[in-house]
Symmetry: C2
Subunit: 353 residues, 2 copies
């Protein structure tokens, strides 16, 4: 693996969730994955306003204190970067080089997006709703603010939230202060941070992040389709203790309870299977309750560890029939690689009598 300086610059800024943090129902602030597309913008909360316009009956302009007077809703949601797993592809698409840790679950609190759009009055000719953030940068030689759209049905009738709090705290700068969008079940790119405007439009949005970035493209000639919902994935807390440099795990013989979380943005997770022999045989994990419809489910798997080397795997299946594949499906942007996690471990005899 030969990561470039550019990829390293991104990896040193952005960060995944250390996998031992799969222990928490809600990921503590600072452990949730973070992809800051351009820079964290400077925002003066007194001057900031959310502009709502386009194909609406009533344009709105709302300060953060006004938004806080609206009825508040809470949404517990698992969020994963669309690029999670990218660095496991061969050849590796060059961008933020995630292995499999770009995930987190948080309790977001704010204003219901459908309620806000109902107040503005979406006109019949509306097709999509465009969300634009304050973060500016250059990409594909185009100077831009980060912007993504949702189909009008998803925006006006779904459960998306315009969040000003996370895990009971005011939104920190890195999560989009003072306001961000959270679209349950969708990959991270839909969850626009530092939200500045919402525009209802009559044609499919052609901004860079919709028309060029964040698309599933099988090859360079494929126009592709925009990434939307998260494919199912299970991850485990790597058992035992790590070697510092390699992160290789060592544990002792005996009863081990493997644990982890599993999610899908398409339908609830219905099954998690675990293999302790590198995928030759699989057993069903016991599933717990998800903290919400849109959050990961905990799972546990009892294992009698025998001395030797082995490879642990886990995979999730959702209620819509989606199952994690063993091998990744390569694509130009390196998106949505939900191939099963593989955790090689060394099991040694107990050193104490």
């Amino acid at each position: 693996m030969t990561i470039s300086l550019e990829e390293l610059q991104l990896a040193a800024r952005n960060h995944g969730m250390p996998l031992e943090a799969l222990r928490y129902d809600l990921t503590p602030v600072g452990l949730h994955y973070l992809l800051i597309h351009y820079d964290i913008p400077v925002v003066d909360p007194a001057a900031w306003r959310l502009q709502v316009g386009g194909l609406v009956e009533r344009e709105l302009s709302l300060g953060i204190d006004e938004l806080r007077t609206w009825p508040a809703v809470e949404l517990v949601a698992t969020m994963e970067c669309a690029g999670n797993g990218r660095a496991r592809l061969e050849p590796r698409p060059v961008s933020q080089p995630w292995l499999h840790e770009a995930v987190g679950t948080a309790a977001w609190r704010g204003v219901s997006l459908p309620a806000l759009l109902a107040e503005a009055g979406v006109r019949d000719e509306a097709v999509e709703v465009v969300f634009t953030g304050l973060d500016r940068g250059i990409e594909g030689e185009i100077e831009q603010r980060f912007a993504r759209s949702l189909p009008v049905a998803e925006a006006a009738a779904g459960e998306a939230v315009l969040a000003y709090e996370v895990n009971g705290q005011p939104l920190p700068p890195q999560h989009g202060y003072p306001l961000r969008l959270v679209v349950p079940g969708w990959y991270g790119m839909a969850n626009v941070k530092w939200l500045a405007s919402i525009e209802v439009v009559g044609e499919p949005f052609s901004g860079f992040q919709q028309a060029a970035g964040y698309r599933w493209r099988t090859d360079e000639t494929d126009p592709g389709r925009p990434l939307t919902r998260m494919l199912p994935r299970a991850l485990m807390v790597p058992p035992g203790i790590p070697e510092f440099m390699t992160r290789h795990r060592t544990l002792e013989t005996g009863s081990v309870v493997l644990e982890g979380r599993a999610w899908s943005g398409i339908a609830p997770v219905e099954r998690v299977e675990v293999s302790v022999d590198g995928g030759r045989t699989w057993g069903d994990a016991r599933l717990g309750e998800a903290p919400s419809r849109w959050a990961w489910r905990p799972w546990w798997f009892e294992w009698e560890a025998e001395p030797g080397e082995c490879e642990l795997r886990c995979r999730a299946a959702d209620g819509a029939g989606n199952v994690q594949p063993d091998e990744p499906q390569w694509n130009v942007g390196g998106y949505a690689n939900n191939a099963t996690q593989r955790v090689p471990v060394t099991v040694r005899r107990r050193t104490l009598a």
Copy 2:
């Protein structure tokens, strides 16, 4: 640059502070740099106790609620990883590949370490104080808990704090919940997290992180010396806007105020210089007040940006005569590389009249 899978695994878990966060006096939780040496341990706060023993008059065993009844002290301190700058060395020592972002400043609140040691009563034959955390791993083929020592004079008479809060919040898991050591002015490795025991010893500590890791060694035959205090460093907020993949900056012609922070663990920062021509000429930055003796000082530099390509640099000098070098000093572990930051930028004419 060819980063290995092992280095990438570390870079994806750990994270630096995005440099635009140099804007904050205190780094928000989640933006402060984070190096988790092994795994974040599971701690039951009801069962957890801090053990204080060794060469003391009175052994202590203190729960977190008892520690909270002691007089509280607050310490605002800048903390930097000893490995900051490692990935800029050639050949690159293989470990966590920091570029220059492994820093942060926080307000830590807890119990004075000298007060706690006075209560225990340090005996005359004491030489060092050993701090051991709950995080376990394997390194140099040795199974260990992370442990580092301080000279007894530093521990018993300095300003170190046993912290249970950061920035007004309970310590989050990733910063050492329920208790961590904070040693102002020292590189990060001294600030032991998930603290379990404090032992006063009569000989220099020979644990792995003291005797093998975190030592300044000029070559493989050099036994070296332990890393201690942070060398001076200035960093700037990269001006303008970034290109997504390269992070290269573009800004417009006209008056620009470059800004950043500078710190030294040895003596207060007395001077920051800025070059806008790749180090050929330097000018003095205006210095602001540090939030504490142990925290970074803000600085500003006015610049009339002309069209073209240029390289910005900044460098700090402290009151003990230490100045940042232009070029790094290579060493085996890749520590304490405080060579000046270099920020290439493109200045273009304003596009609007």
